[in-house]
């Protein structure tokens, strides 16, 4: 067991080193943009996975928190000239608070109807921001004033700087997931995900745990919203509350491996790379092709590998371990 730990630490160290030097080595801004997308959606997937993966509360409404984070920091920046770094945290808090009433409503339903309720609440929030043009620019949205190089206002001249910001976010998300996975809360979450009634019967306070993990998940998703708005210098309800953000958050986690630390990251690498390749082959004019391919990948994973790519990887490693040490494996059995 110690052997395995040493190896995985080494792999992790190499991975971190590679990720840190990557934007220095690869200078093509097209490539760095793709890296940023991969890191961003990995982070959103990690946030989704905390609740959707471990506790199996399958939300398709995380765009609500992405949008709330984006709007909170933008409104603070444009109306009060407050730095998006502070706005980002504020957006997280707003999302956390919003998750309380939304969760109160949606957790009344279970399974697929929970999923539908989350879709409806996210769409309803989008409608609110479309309707009330007085405080959030309505359907037209607004551009973020470009201040040139201004790191204190989360505005950078190089794409590489944005890369490091979102890399930092992903690291925070993964560390939080790791900490939760190892704590009592992680076990409670998995218990709820396996069978909520049974978990409650053995004394897990399921409503409280679900509420808490929803708050954490919403907080993290909101951080991604602020980052994205700062990155593209634009906000409107259709982008900030886009259903496709909710879809992608769930998709990358399921394809990568639901309820695993690295699942959302691996899933995003596969899906975003596929999408980038498709775009460079076919051009961006063919609407629908990207999601058609995503849907086919999702169906294939569900029908043949419900544990996702992480499950495949684990099977592979186990088979190799057994192959290398047949004698030991036999004595254990």
């Amino acid at each position: 067991v110690r052997d395995v730990n040493k190896w995985s630490l080494l792999v992790l160290a190499v991975l971190i080193a590679v990720l840190l030097v990557l934007p220095q080595v690869v200078t093509s801004s097209f490539a760095v943009e793709i890296f940023i997308r991969i890191l961003l959606f990995s982070f959103i997937g990690v946030a989704w996975n905390l609740m959707g993966g471990y506790a199996k509360q399958l939300s398709l409404g995380h765009a609500a928190y992405f949008g709330l984070g984006a709007y909170t920091s933008t409104i603070m920046q444009i109306d009060f000239n407050i730095s998006p770094w502070i706005g980002m945290i504020a957006g997280g808090v707003v999302a956390m608070l919003a998750s309380l009433p939304i969760g109160w409503l949606c957790f009344r339903l279970r399974g697929p109807y929970f999923t539908i309720a989350t879709i409806a609440t996210a769409q309803a929030l989008m409608l609110v921001f479309l309707k009330f043009r007085d405080f959030a620019w309505g359907a037209e949205g607004t551009t973020i004033p470009n201040l040139g190089s201004s790191p204190l206002m989360m505005q950078f001249e190089t794409k590489a700087s944005y890369y490091y910001v979102v890399l930092g976010l992903l690291a925070v998300g993964l560390l939080i997931t790791y900490a939760i996975e190892k704590s009592w809360m992680g076990y409670y979450l998995v218990a709820i995900g396996e069978d909520e009634d049974a978990a409650e019967a053995i004394g897990v306070n399921a409503p409280r745990i679900k509420r808490d993990i929803y708050m954490i998940s919403a907080f993290l998703t909101a951080l991604a919203g602020t980052f994205y708005t700062q990155y593209i210098y634009f906000i409107d309800p259709a982008t900030a509350f886009s259903f496709s953000i909710s879809i992608e958050a769930a998709l990358v986690s399921i394809v990568g491996g639901i309820g695993t630390l690295w699942g959302p990251v691996i899933g995003t690498v596969l899906l975003e790379t596929t999408s980038a390749l498709l775009q460079s082959w076919l051009g961006s004019s063919t609407g629908g092709i990207q999601l058609t391919v995503y849907a086919l990948i999702l169906m294939a994973v569900i029908l043949w590998r419900p544990t996702g790519l992480m499950g495949m990887l684990n099977d592979l490693l186990q088979r190799r371990a057994q192959h290398e040490k047949p004698a030991q494996a036999r004595t254990v059995l």
Binding site: L58, L109, Q123, G287, I302, P306
Partner: protein, 289 residues
């Protein structure tokens, strides 16, 4: 004023008939197969495209194309149940939700690729006809759609109540294991239920075509409405879904008349949120799950 209210109620009732066909399908699948079909709206879309192409290339009236769209979608439904859904049935929600969700994503984006995002319409000789009763204006195409929709709903209800297969379906929905012990083949019953639900969605598509445009995203409008109606009418309850759909149609139409033309969706969401807050088990009571 009174006339405006009555007119809005009539409009809502007429479109509510179409909502009913979609929601009855959703609730039938949920009741018997115990899954929520996220792709139900896309089958309405397929029904609309079948009707559109039959009319445009062969000149077949949308009402006659019911005889094509319903059987085609019934077979499609039975095949989907047999080859896809059957493989993910079980206690785990995740594969069930995301399989039908992936199906919805796939059909929607495939139709975007094949048919483009253009709006397709069909113009029949009765598309512009209307009856005037008192001061009330009733478009003939919508009236036909409503009457046929109610007829099909009634036929399904009679089928579930009186035929052996219908009774087997209700038995399988109440207790799958006991039904199996009684000699009911669940795979057969599920395939028929899924097929019947999709046939209703196809019928909704054909009936809509004389007065509604077909486009790849059209199903989303109807499926959202259906989900709310199914929760409101108590999950798995056919009559509940029917009544709730008519109510939703009326509520939406009153919203459009008195709040604003684009407030239809807001009314739907408001109804869903109110239902969740105060009657999470639906108006008829019953179980949440």
């Amino acid at each position: 004023m009174l006339e405006t209210v009555i007119q809005a109620v009539v409009n809502g009732l007429l479109i509510g008939g179409i909502y009913a066909l979609v929601s009855i399908g959703v609730t039938l699948i949920f009741g018997v197969v115990k899954i929520v079909n996220f792709a139900q709206g896309e089958f309405v879309m397929i029904g609309m495209y079948i009707t559109f192409f039959l009319f445009t290339y062969l000149g077949i009236d949308p009402l006659l194309s019911l005889l094509v769209s319903m059987p085609v979608l019934f077979v499609l439904g039975a095949l989907i149940q047999h080859f896809l859904i059957r493989r993910v049935l079980g206690p785990n929600d995740m594969p069930q939700i995301f399989l039908t969700f992936a199906l919805s994503l796939l059909l929607l984006n495939l139709s975007l690729l094949l048919f483009s995002a253009n709006y397709r319409t069909v113009h029949t000789f009765y598309s512009d006809e209307a009856l005037h009763i008192g001061g009330i204006y009733i478009p003939v195409a919508k009236l036909i759609a409503f009457v046929v929709a109610m007829g099909l709903s009634g036929a399904l209800w009679v089928f579930l109540r009186t035929t052996d297969l219908g009774k087997a379906m209700r038995a399988a929905s109440q207790n799958r294991d006991v039904a199996m012990l009684m000699g009911i083949n669940p795979n057969y019953v599920f395939a028929v239920a899924f097929g019947a639900a999709l046939a209703l969605a196809g019928a909704a598509g054909s009936l809509l075509m004389p007065f509604y445009s077909a486009y790849p995203f059209v199903g989303q409008v109807f499926v959202l409405m259906a989900f709310v109606a199914v929760v409101l009418g108590t999950l798995g309850n056919v009559i509940g879904a029917l009544v709730a759909s008519l109510m939703m149609g009326i509520a939406e139409s009153l919203g459009i008349q008195f709040v604003g033309a684009d407030s239809g969706l807001i009314v739907v969401f408001a109804m869903l949120l109110l239902t969740l807050a105060f009657k999470p088990n639906g108006l008829g009571g019953g179980r949440v799950r």
